[in-house]
Amino acid sequence: MRRVPRVGIGGPVGSGKSMLIERLVPVLVRKGYAAGVISNDVISKEDADRIRATLSADCTVPGDLVVGLATGGCPHTAVREDPSMNLAAIEQMVRDHPELDIIIIESGGDNITTTFSPVLADYFMYMIDVAGGDKYPRKGGLGIQSCDLLVINKIDLAEHVGADLDVMRRDAVRSRGEKPFLFTDCRSNTGVDEVARHIIRDLLFDAPPGAGGP
C-alpha cells in the first residue's frame, strides 16, 4: 500500500491543535489536496466530532475522513511507543480513500516531551499557545526542540496574559536554531496559510494534488 504523507501535531492540552486542523484542512482542500484527519483524544471523541462537523460544512470533507481515537491516559504512548492503534486507523482510511494526498494526526493534549514515532508521522508539528506563558519556547522539551515546525498559537491573547512575543521569538530561535516556527491566531485565521505552505513545501516537496496516485 502506498504511504500517504502524514503530519503529526502534538502539544499541550487546549493549545489549539483541533482548531488548527479545522482551519488548515480547508486551505489544503482549496488547493486541491485530499486530506484525512485522525484525532487522538484522551477521554472522548468530542474533538473529532467537532472537526468532522466543521470540515463537512466548510469544505465538504466526507465524514469517514475524520476519525476519532480515544487513547486513554497515555496519549504519548499512542503516537510514540505503541502507535499500533493509529497505524490501524490509517490503514483503514487509505484502503477506503486511496485518493488521499495527506493525513493529519492530532495527538491528545500532553506534556512538552511528546514526540511522534517516525513510523507514524513524516512531519512533526508542535503547538504551544501564548496563554501558557512566554517561557515555553525557552523551557524546551523534546517536542518543542525536535519538531519540524513549532507553531505558537493564540497570539491574540498575548496582551491579556502579559506574554511578550519578542521573548518567544528570541527563545524559539535559541532553542531551535535554523528550524522554523510560526505565530498563529487560529480564531482569526492568522498564519494558517503560512502553516499550509510549510507543509506543502517540506512534507509534500511541492508535489501537486494527486501526485502519489491511488
Binding site: 480515544a70 497515555c74 505503541d82 499500533s84 492503534m85 490501524a88
Partner: protein, 219 residues
C-alpha cells in the same frame, strides 16, 4: 533459537506494541457502575475472568493456534480465528482483539521475516495471533498460555491503577495473589480442545462501556 524465557518476557512485556495499554476489559465500565471499588473487588473479578474466560477461551485459543502453527496448519488457524471472533459478543472487545492481534503479527513478521505467519487470510484475533507468534519465537505451548494469563492480569491491574481503583503496592499484591489462578488458567488452556467462555454479566457491563461518552479505555 534464543532462550524460551526471553521470548516469553518479550511477549508479555507492556512495551510490546499491540495497543494493550488502552484496554481495561470492562473494568472502567464496572468501576463507573459502582461494581468495583476496592482491591478485593478487583481480585475477585480477575479470579473469575481467569476461570471462565482467560483459561477456557484465550489460553485455549492461543495454545491451539500455537499447535496449528507448529504443524503448518493454516486452515486450522483460520478456522480457529473465525470461531474465536464469533464467541466474542462485545463489539469493543472484538474490534480491540483484532486490532491488537493484527499489529502483533505485523511486529513479529517484521522482526522474523517469517513466511509462515505472513500469509493466511484471517481476522487476526489477539490470542490466535499470540499463539502463532509464540510458536515462531520458539516458545512452548505452556509458556504461551502462561504469557496470555499474565498479560491479561497485568493489563487489567494496570487499568485499575490508572483508574484510581487501587494503589501501586496493591497492584503487585493482586498479581502475586493470582499466581495460582494464572497457572490454573494456563493449564486449563493447554488441556482443552474446545474454546469457550461464560461470563454474561461481565459482557453486559462491557457492552455498556460502548455507549459511555467520556472514557479512558477502548474496552
Amino acid at each position: 533459537m534464543a532462550d524460551e524465557l526471553l521470548g516469553i518476557m518479550q511477549m508479555s512485556d507492556s512495551l510490546f506494541p499491540a495497543g494493550m495499554f488502552a484496554m481495561s476489559n470492562g473494568i472502567e465500565a464496572m468501576h463507573r457502575a459502582g461494581d468495583i471499588s476496592t482491591a478485593a473487588d478487583l481480585e475477585t473479578l480477575l479470579r473469575s475472568y481467569l476461570a471462565h474466560q482467560t483459561g477456557p477461551s484465550d489460553c485455549a485459543a492461543a495454545v491451539r493456534a500455537h499447535r496449528c502453527a507448529g504443524e503448518g496448519d493454516i486452515g486450522g488457524i483460520r478456522d480457529l480465528d473465525a470461531r474465536y471472533l464469533a464467541s466474542k459478543s462485545v463489539r469493543e472487545i472484538r474490534e480491540a482483539s483484532v486490532r491488537s492481534g493484527t499489529q502483533m503479527l505485523r511486529c513479529i513478521t517484521e522482526i522474523l521475516h517469517d513466511e509462515e505467519i505472513r500469509n493466511g487470510r484471517m481476522s487476526g484475533t489477539y490470542p490466535v495471533s499470540f499463539g502463532v507468534c509464540c510458536q515462531a519465537l520458539g516458545i512452548s505451548a505452556h509458556g504461551t498460555a502462561m504469557a496470555v494469563s499474565y498479560g491479561f492480569v497485568a493489563g487489567c491491574v494496570g487499568a485499575a491503577l490508572r483508574l484510581g481503583i487501587i494503589q501501586h503496592m496493591e497492584a503487585q499484591g493482586i498479581i502475586h495473589n493470582l499466581k495460582p489462578d494464572m497457572e490454573r488458567s494456563a493449564l486449563d488452556g493447554c488441556g482443552s480442545d474446545t474454546v469457550w467462555q461464560f461470563c454474561p454479566q461481565a459482557e453486559i457491563l462491557q457492552m455498556a462501556h460502548e455507549n459511555q461518552d467520556s472514557k479512558m479505555f477502548i474496552t
